[in-house]
C-alpha cells in the first residue's frame, strides 16, 4: 500500500466497522434450543440395525482420541461392508464443528466420541445437536448416571500425581491444603485451567465440594478456613491460596508429566495430570504415580461420551458404533474395547473388570463430576480464576 494511502486507512476503518455493526451479512441461525426427539431406531434390534447399516454402507465418527484408528480396523472386521471413517478431533473443536454444522444444516458426522462433559451436556445435548442412544444389550450394566443424559463408555481422570522415584514411600501430599504451604511453594504444576476445559472442571469440582475442602482444612490446620474478602467459600479460598503459592501453569499435560515424572530429580514438583499417562512411564522415563489417599480427594473422574449426531445420514450404523464402543460381554470388553482398557481409565460397565496395574476406582477416591452441576458453576469459577 502506498504510505500516503495508508493514512486513508484510518478513515476506512470506521467504515469497515460500521459495515460490521450494521450486521446483515451472515445469517446466524441460533441452534435449536430443545433436546432432540428420540429416534425411531432406538428400539431396533441388533439384527435390524445390522441390515439397515449395511444398506447405509458407511459411518463417520468424530473422536477426541486417535485410538479411533484401531477401533476402525476392528469395526470393519466385525461388520464387513460398513466403512467406518474415523476422525481424531479434539473435544473443543468437535463442539465448534458440530454446532456450526448443525446451524448450517449439514451434519457430516454420525457419531461423536467426545469428552468435555459440562459443555457437551448443556449445549450439544440440551440444544438437540447430539442425542442419546443406549444399546439395549448394555442398558442393564451401565449405571444410570452414565446412561443419562448421554451414554458414556469409560471414565478418565485428572488427578494429583507425584514422582515415585523421589518418594518411594507413597505420596508426599496427604492433604490438598499442604499445596498452599511454603513446602510446595512454586512446586505444584498443572495446565492452565483458563486454556483447558478438563482442568477447569477440576477447579469447578473443588469449588462445588467446598464443604469437604473446609473439613480438610480443619483436619490439616486444626482451624476453620478463614475466607478473604470477596471469596465465597473454602473451595475458592483453596484455589486462591494455591495460585498465591507460586502455582506453575503450563500449556500441555506432557509438560506436567515431564516436570513431575522426570527421573533423576532431587526435588521434583507434584502436579495434576491423567492417571493413564502412567502407562508411558517406561517409554518416557517417568516415575509418575497417583497420589492415593490424599484428602479430601486426589482429583476428578469424568466421562467419555458417545453421542448420536442429530439428523445424520447413517443413523443405523451410528447405533452399531455405539454398541461396538461399549465392548463385548467379556471381562475386558474384548477387542472393540481394547484401546480403552488401560490402567488409569475406568470402564463404566459394571460387568467389566477394572484394568490391573492401577488403583481400583474406589481406592482412587476421586470426585466424579456431575456435568449439569459443574456447568452451573463452571463459568463463575473461570471468571474467578481470571481475577487471581
Amino acid at each position: 500500500m502506498r504510505l500516503s494511502g495508508m493514512l486513508s486507512a484510518s478513515a476506512a476503518l470506521p467504515l469497515a466497522l460500521a459495515l460490521v455493526a450494521c450486521g446483515g451479512g451472515t445469517p446466524q441461525e441460533p441452534a435449536a434450543d430443545t433436546p432432540a426427539e428420540p429416534h425411531e431406531l432406538d428400539s431396533a434390534t441388533h439384527e435390524e440395525l445390522v441390515e439397515l447399516a449395511q444398506e447405509e454402507g458407511t459411518v463417520t465418527v468424530y473422536s477426541f482420541t486417535s485410538r479411533i484408528a484401531s477401533i476402525e480396523a476392528e469395526f470393519e472386521a466385525a461388520y464387513p461392508g460398513i466403512d467406518l471413517v474415523g476422525h481424531d478431533i479434539s473435544s473443543s473443536e468437535q463442539i465448534t464443528r458440530l454446532r456450526s454444522e448443525s446451524q448450517a444444516g449439514a451434519p457430516s458426522a454420525d457419531v461423536a466420541y467426545i469428552s468435555d462433559a459440562p459443555v457437551v451436556i448443556t449445549e450439544l445435548v440440551a440444544g438437540g445437536v447430539l442425542q442419546n442412544y443406549v444399546p439395549p444389550r448394555v442398558a442393564e450394566t451401565v449405571p444410570q448416571e452414565y446412561r443419562e443424559p448421554l451414554l458414556a463408555n469409560r471414565l478418565s481422570t485428572k488427578i494429583l500425581m507425584y514422582n515415585e522415584e523421589a518418594h518411594p514411600d507413597g505420596s508426599p501430599v496427604e492433604n490438598l491444603w499442604q499445596l498452599t504451604e511454603e513446602e510446595w511453594n512454586g512446586r505444584v504444576v498443572m495446565v492452565d485451567p483458563a486454556v483447558r476445559g478438563d482442568y477447569l472442571d477440576l477447579m469447578a469440582e473443588i469449588v462445588r465440594r467446598s464443604d469437604e475442602m473446609a473439613q480438610a482444612h480443619q483436619e490439616h490446620f486444626g482451624s476453620e478456613v478463614s475466607l478473604d474478602e470477596g471469596v465465597e467459600n473454602a473451595g475458592r479460598q483453596f484455589i486462591k491460596d494455591l495460585y498465591a503459592n507460586g502455582l506453575v501453569l503450563v500449556d500441555d499435560t506432557d509438560n506436567v508429566n515431564q516436570a513431575v515424572g522426570g527421573t533423576g530429580q532431587e526435588d521434583p514438583p507434584v502436579g495434576i495430570t491423567s492417571y493413564s499417562d502412567r502407562r508411558d512411564n517406561e517409554e518416557e522415563g517417568w516415575a509418575l504415580q497417583a497420589s492415593l489417599g490424599t484428602v479430601p480427594s486426589t482429583g476428578i473422574t469424568f466421562p467419555a461420551y458417545i453421542g448420536m449426531v442429530n439428523g445424520a445420514a447413517n443413523p443405523a450404523a451410528a447405533r452399531l458404533v455405539a454398541d461396538f464402543l461399549m465392548g463385548d460381554d467379556s471381562e475386558t470388553g474384548g477387542p472393540s474395547f481394547e484401546p480403552f482398557y488401560v490402567p488409569g481409565d475406568y470402564p463404566v460397565r459394571t460387568d467389566m473388570a477394572q484394568p490391573g496395574d492401577a488403583a481400583p476406582l474406589e481406592e482412587l477416591g476421586a470426585w466424579d463430576i456431575v456435568p449439569e452441576e459443574t456447568a452451573q458453576i463452571r463459568d463463575g469459577v473461570a471468571d474467578f480464576l481470571l481475577t487471581l
Partner: protein, 592 residues
C-alpha cells in the same frame, strides 16, 4: 460498452455522469470488484463473528471483557503484553531481516545464496521448534523436570531470561524475521544500480548509500514486513503458551484461545475483535510515524544492472554476524526439530536416538504401535493433499492479491477505496483461524441460491485459505507494485494495452520477485497452518498439519516432529522452486 443517453444538465445528471466516468475507469471498476470479493471472503465472516457476540447469551461477553473485575487479567494486561510482544517482534524482525536482506542482495559475501535460502526457513518452522530450541538452552528449574544446557553447565538462568516477555519476543523475532527478510530482499533486488552508482560517483560512503538510497527505496517493504511480523507476533498462540504461561504471562491470543477452548466462544470472539482493532490502530500509528513519505519508483524500464557494495575490511565481521544470526534462528531450531524426531524419549536428547519414528515398522514398544512416518501410506496421501492445497491457495491468493494491490497502488480517485481495501485485506490475519473456519462453515455450509453447500468440499478449504492468506499476497504485492514507475505502464497504454494486458504482460513480470515471494509466503503459511484447516479439512482428505496435531495431541511427539520436518522440507523446496521460476520470469536479471 452500452451507449449512454446524453446526460441532462441537472445536479443528479452531473452526479450520474460522474459515476459513469468512474465506472469507465478500469482501476475503479477493478477496485470495486476486488472489494466485492473481499467482502464475501473477509467482511462476511467478520460480521458473523460480531453477530455471535451480540446474540442472546453472548452480550454479556462485552461487559465481562471491558468492565468487570476480570478485565485487568482478561483484557488490559494481556493487551499490553500483546502490544509489547508485537512491537518487539516487528522491530526485531525489521532489523534482523533488513540486515540479512542487505547482506544477501547488496554484498558479495561468499555463500550468500545459501545465506538467503537459510534466512527464509525460520518462517517455515513451527513456532514450537523455536520455543523448544530456546528452552533447550535457557530452561531453568522453575517448572521442574529437565533443565537447559546453561543450567546443566552450572550457569544460573534468571526467570526473566527463561520465561516471559523476553524469550517470547526473541523467539517470535527469530520466527518471523523471515517475512521482513523476504519482502526487503525482494525490494532491494529491484533497486536500480544506476542510482547507487551515481551516489558513489558523487563521493557518498557505503553507509550513506545504504542509508540515503537503499533505505528509502525499501521503506514500503520494511513497513509491510514490520506489519506482518507484528500481526503474526500478536496472533501467535504457541510461543506465549510455552514460554509465557509458567510465569503467567498472558497475551490476547492465549486469552482468546483459552476462552474458545473452554467453551466461552463469545468472549473469545470479543477478544479477537479487540485484537483486530488494536492491530488496526497500530497500523495507523505506523503510518503516522513514517509520515507521508513518498514512494520511490525504482523500476523505471531504464537500466537495470544490479550493483553490489564493497565492504572492504568489514566483510568478515558482517559475514560472521550474518552467519551467526542464521545459525541461531535456522540451524539450531532446525537441528532441534530433526533431533527431537529421533529421540527415544520425548524431547530428551540424552535418551539415545532411533530412526524408528521415520522408517520403523509397527512395534508395540514405540508410540503404541504406530509405524514410522515413511512407512505410513497415509502420510504420502496427506503430503499430496497438502501440496495441492498450498498450490491452489497460492495461485488464488496470488491473483486476487495482485489485483487488490494494483487497485490500492494505482487508484487515483477517492481515497476511501484503497484505504478500505488495505484494511480489509489485512484483517484476516487477526481473526483466529478456528473462528474463521467456523464462520466459513456458517456462511458456506448451507446452499446459497444456486451455489450448493460447500461444506466438506475441497473448494471451501481453498476459499478459506485464500481469505486467511490474502494479507501476505496483498502486502507483498503492494510493496512490489509501489516500486514500479507509472512511466512503464503509460508506455504500455500508449501501445494500446488494456488493463489486464498491462497487468499480465508488464506489471506481473516486472514484479515477479515480489509476487513469487508472496506466493511462497502463502504456500508456506497454508502448508504449516493448522488452526484454519482443523475445522474445514474434509474427512476424506488428511493434510499434514492435521496429522501433526493428531500425533502431538496423543503425545506421539516424535512422530509429530517427523511430520513437521516433512512440512519444513516442502516449504523450503517451494522457496527454492519459486526462486528458479522467478529467474525464468525475469530473463533480464540472469546475469546478476
Amino acid at each position: 460498452m452500452p451507449t449512454a443517453p446524453p446526460p441532462r444538465r441537472t445536479a443528479a445528471g452531473v452526479r450520474l455522469a460522474r459515476a459513469r466516468t468512474a465506472l469507465t475507469r478500469p482501476t475503479a471498476v477493478l477496485g470495486a470488484c476486488t472489494l466485492l470479493i473481499l467482502t464475501v471472503l473477509v467482511v462476511a465472516p467478520l460480521v458473523g463473528l460480531v453477530n455471535t457476540t451480540l446474540m442472546e447469551g453472548g452480550r454479556d461477553a462485552w461487559g465481562d471483557v471491558f468492565a468487570s473485575p476480570m478485565s485487568e487479567n482478561l483484557l488490559w494486561r494481556p493487551m499490553g503484553n500483546s502490544i509489547l510482544v508485537g512491537v518487539a517482534t516487528a522491530a526485531g524482525s525489521t532489523v534482523i531481516g533488513g540486515f540479512l536482506a542487505w547482506v544477501v542482495v547488496m554484498t558479495r559475501i561468499p555463500g550468500r545464496w545459501l545465506l538467503g535460502l537459510l534466512a527464509t526457513i525460520p518462517f517455515a518452522l513451527p513456532s514450537f521448534a523455536l520455543a523448544l530450541a530456546w528452552e533447550s538452552v535457557f530452561r531453568n528449574g522453575l517448572i521442574g523436570g529437565s533443565t537447559g544446557i546453561l543450567v546443566n553447565l552450572g550457569v544460573a538462568v534468571p526467570d526473566w531470561l527463561a520465561w516471559g516477555p523476553v524469550p517470547v519476543s526473541a523467539t517470535l523475532t527469530a520466527h518471523y524475521f523471515s517475512l521482513s527478510f523476504m519482502l526487503i530482499a525482494a525490494a532491494l533486488a529491484s533497486v536500480n544500480g544506476d542510482l547507487m552508482e551515481a551516489a558513489e560517483l558523487t563521493g557518498a560512503s557505503t553507509l550513506r548509500v545504504a542509508r540515503d538510497i537503499a533505505l528509502p527505496v525499501v521503506a514500503p517493504a520494511m513497513v509491510s514486513g514490520a506489519l506482518l511480523a507484528f500481526a503474526e507476533g500478536v496472533s501467535n498462540f504457541v510461543t506465549p503458551a510455552l514460554l509465557g504461561l509458567p510465569v503467567r504471562f498472558h497475551t490476547l491470543s492465549t486469552r482468546l484461545y483459552g476462552a474458545i477452548s473452554t467453551g466461552d466462544v463469545s468472549r473469545g470472539y470479543v477478544l479477537s475483535i479487540v485484537l483486530i482493532v488494536v492491530a488496526a490502530m497500530i497500523m495507523y500509528a505506523s503510518t503516522r510515524l513514517t509520515g507521508g513519505r513518498r514512494n520511490f519508483a525504482t523500476i523505471t524500464g531504464k537500466g537495470g544492472r544490479r550493483r553490489s557494495v564493497d565492504l572492504g575490511p568489514w566483510a568478515r565481521p558482517v559475514a560472521a554476524l550474518a552467519w551467526l544470526l542464521v545459525a541461531c534462528t535456522t540451524v539450531v531450531p532446525g537441528a532441534v526439530l530433526v533431533l527431537s524426531s529421533l529421540t527415544r524419549r520425548t524431547n530428551d536428547f540424552t535418551s539415545g536416538f532411533t530412526l524408528h519414528y521415520w522408517i520403523g515398522g509397527s512395534d508395540p514398544a514405540f508410540a503404541q504401535g504406530r509405524p514410522g512416518i515413511l512407512n505410513n501410506p497415509q502420510i504420502l496421501q496427506a503430503t499430496g493433499n497438502t501440496v495441492l492445497l498450498g498450490v491452489c491457495v497460492a495461485l488464488g491468493a496470488g491473483v486476487l492479491g495482485l489485483l487488490v494491490s494494483y487497485a490500492i497502488t494505482r487508484s487515483t480517485g477517492s481515497r476511501w477505496l484503497p484505504g478500505t481495501l488495505g484494511v480489509v485485506s489485512f484483517v484476516p490475519f487477526l481473526i483466529p483461524g478456528i473462528a474463521l473456519g467456523a464462520a466459513f462453515i456458517a456462511q458456506f455450509g448451507a446452499p446459497i441460491g444456486p451455489i450448493p453447500s460447500l461444506y466438506g468440499t475441497f473448494a471451501i478449504l481453498v476459499l478459506a485459505g485464500i481469505a486467511a492468506t490474502i494479507p501476505f499476497a496483498v502486502r507483498s504485492g503492494t510493496s512490489a507494485l509501489s516500486q514500479v514507475s507509472r512511466d512503464v505502464e503509460e508506455s504500455a497504454v500508449m501501445a494500446g494495452a488494456g488493463l489486464f494486458r498491462r497487468i499480465g504482460a508488464v506489471i506481473a513480470p516486472l514484479t515477479a520477485r515480489g509476487l513469487f515471494t508472496g506466493g511462497v509466503l502463502v504456500f508456506v503459511q497454508m502448508v504449516r497452518d493448522l488452526s484454519l484447516v482443523v475445522l474445514l479439512a474434509t474427512p476424506a482428505m488428511p493434510v499434514l498439519a492435521v496429522l501433526t496435531y493428531q500425533y502431538s495431541s496423543e503425545n506421539f511427539t516424535q512422530l509429530a516432529n517427523a511430520v513437521t520436518v516433512v512440512i519444513a522440507v516442502i516449504s523450503v523446496g517451494a522457496t527454492v522452486l519459486a526462486r528458479r521460476l522467478e529467474g525464468a520470469a525475469q530473463p533480464w536479471n540472469q546475469n546478476s
